[in-house]
């Protein structure tokens, strides 16, 4: 037989193995941290741990959460570094996290640490909702800047608003859960009914509304303050508005995935994630970090944002997540649908 199968077999096997034999230890780390920050985080970690290589799996909060839940019985991740606290609570309730008290965890602000001992997750920083307002496009459309969430339901903003779909975006979900907490269950849905009338469309990711506002595709994007500050720094004609009722927020947190075969390396990474220098690193993009006294002001970050953060009930958010999302979908998904 002239036909050489061996060659193809070795090719197939080669493609399977080629990428998995380098470095000393490789950690697969799932994250929802903005892509442009990831290499910085890895480099900083590698300064003290050159033998551990991080392979990032980065996607929006909803997707990473979905991926982790889908892999519940066959976990692919070793560590989750930088995923919404609400999502980590969800993973914890599935028994998917390996409790571990990282060295130095006691130095963190206690609201950033899971209540159990040892904690299932530890927080890093908080990201806070805000409204990105394109002054140029808003001027063209003759809009007045909103100052509160309730303002956004005003008829002048009809078709000029974009917000993230809470079904796929962590930022979208924190908005919805904060409105339900601020205005009560009934008032919250009433508010969203009114807001829905003004929304041009819902986006898949939480940063897109602000980027679209920055690019002038829409005058107003409901997004988060960090994204707004970055787009503004890149030269976009943006104002970052903090609604007066208070703003929803979520934290980014870190945890070890139960069942990892690289527990030791995973623990080293989590140890690093709570250090002062790691928190200084988070502070470059986030105004609020878990390590007290570290936070320095971030350029273009709106004033009064930290004071406006609502007392967030994460357990409410996590345990009611499925119900809220289903309700949201049946009310608003398919903007063109008659209601």
């Amino acid at each position: 037989m002239k036909f050489n199968f061996g060659f193809f077999k070795s090719l197939a096997v080669g493609s399977l193995l080629a990428t998995s034999v380098f470095a000393d230890t490789e950690l697969t780390v799932y994250t929802a941290v903005e892509a442009e920050d990831l290499s910085r985080y890895a480099a900083k970690f590698n300064e003290s741990h050159p033998d551990i290589k991080i392979n990032w799996v980065r996607d929006s909060t909803g997707i990473i959460t979905a991926k982790l839940l889908a892999e519940k019985n066959n976990p692919q991740a070793d560590v989750v570094w930088g995923l919404a606290g609400t999502s980590l609570l969800l993973l914890k309730s599935e028994g998917m996290l390996e409790p571990y008290a990282p060295a130095g965890v006691e130095k963190l602000d206690s609201k950033f640490v899971d209540g159990d001992n040892p904690p299932a997750w530890v927080g890093m920083d908080a990201w806070v909702a805000a409204v990105c307002y394109n002054t140029v496009e808003a001027g063209k459309a003759g809009l007045t800047p909103p100052t509160s969430w309730k303002d956004l339901t005003d008829a002048q903003y009809a078709g000029h608003l974009i917000m993230p779909n809470p079904n796929s975006s962590g930022t979208g979900f924190l908005d919805v859960s904060s409105w339900l907490q601020l205005f009560g269950e009934e008032g919250g849905w009433e508010y969203m009914d009114a807001l829905h009338e003004n929304i041009a469309r819902y986006t898949h990711s939480g940063s897109k509304p602000c980027k679209l506002a920055a690019a002038g595709e829409i005058p107003i994007g409901i997004s988060f303050a960090f994204r707004g500050a970055k787009s503004k720094a890149a030269g976009a004609p943006l104002d970052i508005i903090v609604p007066s009722e208070g703003v929803g927020w979520d934290m980014e947190a870190t945890a070890i995935v139960a069942g990892t075969s690289k527990l030791e390396a995973a623990q080293k990474l989590v140890d690093f994630s709570v250090t002062k220098e790691a928190n200084e690193m988070y502070n470059e993009g986030y105004a609020v970090v878990a390590y007290p006294g570290v936070a320095k002001p971030v350029e273009h970050f709106p004033e009064g944002l930290i004071e406006a953060m609502i007392p967030n009930d994460f357990e409410f958010a996590a345990n009611n997540r499925a119900r809220i999302l289903k309700e949201w979908q049946s009310r608003y998904d398919g903007k063109s649908d008659p209601k």
Binding site: L11, R201, A318, A322
Partner: protein, 674 residues
């Protein structure tokens, strides 16, 4: 008693006399079984897992929980209450509300009408057996030990559902208008896009085949360009052309491009080459005698067109229509980028799976999407099988006559279509080079710093090339060899028929559905094949399978041109079949083999739908990066990456062309008659 016992001295063969299988026959059948097995594992099993997933439901099984309630002093009565019995007495929750999704949670206090979190009453709750699960706060309890809780903690107890099977997912789907509406939306855009594309492509093909206009080669090249980009790219182009900051948004008169308008324009763009190719083939073959007859009968050109041209091309037109319909209804990339709030089935699958982690519902939508896809596919097959040879030995090829007016009109028409295609690609390239659209229009290469964005960076681009090369190489070998075995082996009719069926199946399966089916099948720890999950291997397998059918048909067509006498001669010369295969068959079919390879390469570079569920950090692809960068709002870099795919595919085409020319010279000399 039968005859054998009467005449037991003679052993007679029963039934028909069968020829003894030669060693070659055994090898060929073995090979066929191996490739059939590949299709079973890469297609049939995953689809089966997906179907069974769509019937997998989650129910709160109340009989799995037991509670005990104390009096105000905290003294428990020995009475143990099963929640199921409690619910039967109280009717707190009707049966139909007990079905839920995998993420379902049910607060337990609903079963205690006089519950107050301030009351001093204590509660105990436990699972009856290992199947029950409940949460206290966010802590998962799976054991059968009693948990003793005060009232204020007891209100934080949430029951979790258990897995069962049934139709409730489908009932749920058809009772959710937001989901149900997508069927209508999908069919609507598919029909409108099909009508527009087929009409545009028909006249384009007509101009190229039936007129004497100039620049035919150039127009043919331009018409094929959309095949070289992922379907996401026309969506991005439309944002820059007709979005809020679009250069031509005035043309929409205030309508929003985000929605059906955008999906339809984009669909026309990316399905155009497919329709053009099919109709062009149909129009290329025509019998000049029919036109001569029409002229001598003094039929008007209009009448000739309807009585000669259209009937002659009708199979091509119908076939093109169903191919376009299928492409549009199963496409995911375009509605994802430009669809806005206009929901379609393919995006619903993505949203259910990725957004809501509702895999069961994703499977249900997949089953719904398969139905129109299979219908369109089946009709197309029936139509194609009816196509009979229009050309007989006595036919005279039709030669168009120059007509300055008609040729000018056709040139303008083709020019406009060409401008549309080039404009869509051009705007993407232009936007990719702009620093900060629309506020800073200076040129910059910032958008090419893919490593600073979502989606996998330049690594994704190199992964794509690696994946496309592997797909082309492995796919061509497997598919051509499979086609050879099924075409040229003798006997074994049932086996060959089954193989043919397996080989046709992939075309009817939408990419999203295939990808989702792969999650269910390969990401199952009990499956020994789950080691390929998250690797390049699974992407290659999935892509080869996804594009199996067209490649298979190309190979079969080429092989049918070879007389089966070759096999007989080789057998009578006592030459092993594989010598014939490598010395004769492969060289003769080389042009077709190269066509298959380039087809697989180009599609592997542009595919999104099948692989979007399957990529991992190390194996992110350029087309996925386009999707993810667009998702994050980095639209210009997405356009830049999309154009990188375009240039790579052009480069591959040029290599293919050069190779084909060389090959034709070396191995196809026998085709020329002199």
């Amino acid at each position: 008693m039968n005859t054998a016992s009467i005449d037991n001295t003679v052993v007679r063969p029963k039934g028909l006399v069968k020829a003894k299988l030669s060693r070659d026959d055994i090898i060929m059948r073995g090979g066929m079984i191996v490739i059939a097995l590949y299709l079973v594992i890469s297609l049939v099993f995953p689809l089966y897992s997906m179907f069974s997933k769509s019937f997998s439901t989650f129910q709160y099984d109340l009989s799995k929980f037991e509670v005990q309630v104390s009096d105000d002093a905290g003294q428990f009565s020995p009475k143990i209450t099963n929640l199921q019995n409690l619910n039967e007495d109280l009717k707190a929750i009707p049966d139909e509300e007990l079905s839920t999704g995998s993420g379902g949670r049910l607060g337990v206090t609903i079963f205690f009408p006089d519950f107050s979190f301030r009351s001093p009453v204590m509660y105990r709750i436990r699972n009856v057996d290992g199947q029950g699960r409940f949460l206290v706060g966010s802590k998962l309890m799976t054991g059968t030990d009693w948990q003793e809780l005060d009232s204020n903690t007891f209100r934080r107890v949430q029951l979790r559902p258990v897995r069962s099977t049934g139709l409730s997912n489908f009932i749920n789907y058809f009772s959710t208008p937001a989901l149900f509406k997508s069927i209508q939306n999908s069919i609507f855009i598919a029909i409108i896009s099909t009508i527009i594309t087929v009409i545009l492509a028909f006249w384009f093909a007509y101009a190229l085949n039936r007129s004497c206009m100039r620049f035919k080669g150039l127009f043919r090249l331009i018409a094929m360009a959309p095949i070289l980009v992922p379907s996401l790219l026309p969506g991005i182009a439309l944002v820059y052309l007709f979005g809020a900051q679009g250069v031509m948004k005035g043309l929409l008169f205030g309508a929003s491009i985000y929605g059906p308008i955008g999906i339809i324009i984009g669909s026309v763009f990316f399905t155009f080459p497919h329709a053009f190719l099919i109709i062009s083939t149909a129009l290329a073959i025509s019998d000049g005698r029919l036109y001569e007859a029409a002229i001598s009968l003094k039929a008007s050109p209009w009448k000739t067109f309807w009585t000669v041209t259209i009937p002659g091309a009708r199979y091509g037109i119908i076939s093109a229509a169903f191919v376009v319909f299928n492409l549009v209804i199963t496409d995911f990339g375009l509605p994802k980028v430009i669809g806005g709030q206009f929901n379609v089935l393919a995006v619903d699958i993505y949203k259910q799976v990725i957004g809501q982690q509702n895999f069961e519902m994703g499977a249900v939508v997949s089953v719904v999407l398969i139905i129109p896809a299979i219908l369109a596919f089946a009709i197309d097959r029936v139509v194609q099988s009816k196509q009979v040879a229009l050309l007989t030995a006595r036919s005279v090829p039709f030669n168009p006559k120059p007509s300055s007016r008609a040729d000018l009109i056709f040139t303008i028409y083709c020019g406009l279509v060409g401008l549309f295609i080039i404009g869509m690609l051009g705007i993407c390239q232009f936007a990719a080079l702009i620093k900060f659209w629309p506020y800073d229009l200076s040129l910059s290469l910032n958008n090419y710093q893919f490593d600073k964005m979502d989606g996998g960076g330049w690594g994704a681009y190199y992964n794509s090339i690696k994946m496309a090369l592997l797909t082309a190489l492995i796919g061509t070998c497997v598919i051509f060899f499979g086609a050879y075995l099924v075409e040229k082996s003798s006997g074994f009719k049932t086996g060959r028929a089954i193989f043919q069926m397996f080989a046709m199946l992939p075309m009817a399966i939408p990419g999203m559905v295939l990808g989702l089916a792969y999650i269910f099948f390969f990401n199952n720890p009990e499956n020994p094949l789950h080691i390929v999950y998250g690797t390049m291997t699974i992407l290659v397998i999935c892509t080869v399978t996804h594009f199996y059918t067209v490649s298979h048909l190309t190979a079969v067509t080429a092989l049918k041109q070879m007389d089966s006498e070759f096999e007989s001669v080789s057998a009578s010369l006592k030459q092993p079949t594989f010598k014939l295969f490598s010395r004769v068959t492969v060289p003769v079919c080389l042009p077709a083999i190269l066509d298959i390879a380039i087809y697989l390469f180009v599609n592997a570079m542009t595919t999104v739908s099948a692989v979007v569920f399957l990529y991992s950090p190390k194996t992110s692809l350029a087309s996925i990066a386009v999707l993810n960068m667009d998702d994050a709002g980095d639209i210009a870099p997405a356009a830049a990456m999309g154009m990188m795919i375009f240039y790579t595919n052009i480069f591959a085409r040029v290599i293919h062309l050069t190779l084909s020319k060389g090959v034709l010279r070396r191995t196809q000399a026998w085709r020329s008659s002199n």
